[in-house]
Symmetry: C2
């Protein structure tokens, strides 16, 4: 079954239901933090916890009840393939390493794509009680506050912005350590605010931009539509992971002039 | 006027009063975030906001009412020198750069020293609703929860810890960029969780340790006693700032085995 393109009214309904599903995932996470949980290493040497699995099951169940027939892609469980033009994309816990150590900067990511383009996105940070949500044409919000990225004016200095970046290890895996090292050396305030916390700070304009490499689809499907709705610039390029040959994605996004500064800094330095 | 050493009962009373003073500073900060505030550059090119000044004045007023005669050292206003053996040390907003951009990882620091040694410390993070407090012999707490750092066992891997670090710029100023770059290259999860947020994460054991260089006294007077009370290891060394010749302090603190690993990694790499 294919489907027609979603109207704004469709998207508002989808978003309301998705927000209810995310409320449930937040409850599961908060209970797990209180009660404790176990973790183990996955094949790729990243962590997974019981909570990742429980949250993904809960979100899938909510989606399958509300939207039978839609496709589902999640980080922890097998892809649900159908003929639908709609695909829900889930990262139950983005920043599992932070979550495992109880650094409160992890989150749950949920996005809806129509024919491969993100039309709805939610980034929920239970540790900060902040939920970022938005849909095509409906704007982006942090809790109930509308997000509008104001670009830098001529009086503003790029140097006084904060630039968020992923862990250096991700740039090592992507074969792009020069990107991490160049930015660290050429800007006074580059901070490894990794995973969805960095995305959230870029969405608010608290960070001027974020540079996040070696990502899977579920790591940025929500961010793509949220940044667009907030008026930011979003650049993505694909690369093949040197380890397992899977496709990964390299992102730069945020206030347009900060994104442009990063691109030109990386261009200049790589041709030195 | 000199004073006798504080008993545990004295310290409990001091702490109760200090916590009331900090409640007031948190209210000022929360109101400022809601209402907006202005900022300007200081001579050293770091930011100061109206809120830094208002919070320091409020804390000083509280201290002078409760403890007339005690010495006071604060980041933003002139030192109050007396003959007392007691000195209160204030950083009204630690992480002003974060605060200015509304990254919710800034905080207020308050410490009491007796003859130059920290005997009481408070780190308040209004953006996370977390207040870390402790005093000599009374333990360290996050809100009402006792903090006890458990060191790594033989089965735990240093590699799986998170290491918090200050901004690279601080290591540049301290003439120690090799420390920042060496750690970034030799551990998979070094994150610039700068200022009091990194200190807080090390206190909870969420970060295995923190490496924070080029600090002033008010940046770590609270942390020193809190880490000791939580059972962590705290190493401080002095160096003369290359810019203005002032004394600055370089810190490594956290779980003992992680601190030891950092020290040995830096020793080995610097003698390569």
């Amino acid at each position: 079954m294919t489907n027609s393109a979603p109207t704004k009214i469709d998207l508002q309904i989808f978003k309301d239901i998705a927000m209810e599903i995310i409320q449930e995932s937040r409850s599961i996470i908060k209970k797990a933090i209180k009660d404790g949980f176990s973790h183990r290493l996955k094949e790729d040497q990243s962590f997974v916890t019981d909570v990742d699995l429980e949250v993904e099951k809960s979100i899938r169940s909510g989606i399958q009840t509300a939207f039978p027939g839609h496709r589902i892609l999640g980080e922890e469980l097998p892809q649900l393939e159908t003929e639908s033009s709609y695909e829900w994309i889930i990262d139950p816990i983005d920043g599992t390493h932070s979550f495992r150590h109880l650094v409160p900067l992890f989150g749950t990511l949920l996005a809806l794509q129509y024919n491969g383009s993100s039309v709805l996105g939610i980034i929920d940070l239970p540790g900060l009680n902040r939920c970022y949500s938005g849909a095509a044409g409906l704007g982006a919000y942090c809790n109930r506050q509308l997000l509008k990225l104001s670009d830098l004016t001529n009086e503003d200095s790029i140097e006084k912005e904060i630039i968020a970046i992923g862990e250096r290890q991700q740039f090592v895996k992507a074969g792009k350590t020069d990107v991490f090292d160049t930015l660290m050396k050429n800007h006074p305030s580059v901070r490894t605010y990794c995973d969805c916390f960095g995305h959230a700070m870029a969405l608010e304009g608290a960070a001027g931009a974020m540079v996040d490499y070696n990502l899977c689809r579920w790591d940025f499907a929500a961010t793509e539509i949220l940044i667009a709705e907030a008026g930011g610039k979003f650049i993505v390029s694909q690369n093949k992971n040197s380890g397992n040959g899977e496709m990964r994605f390299d992102l730069i996004f945020g206030k347009p002039s900060v994104v442009d500064w990063i691109v030109s800094t990386l261009d200049i330095k790589s041709s030195d």
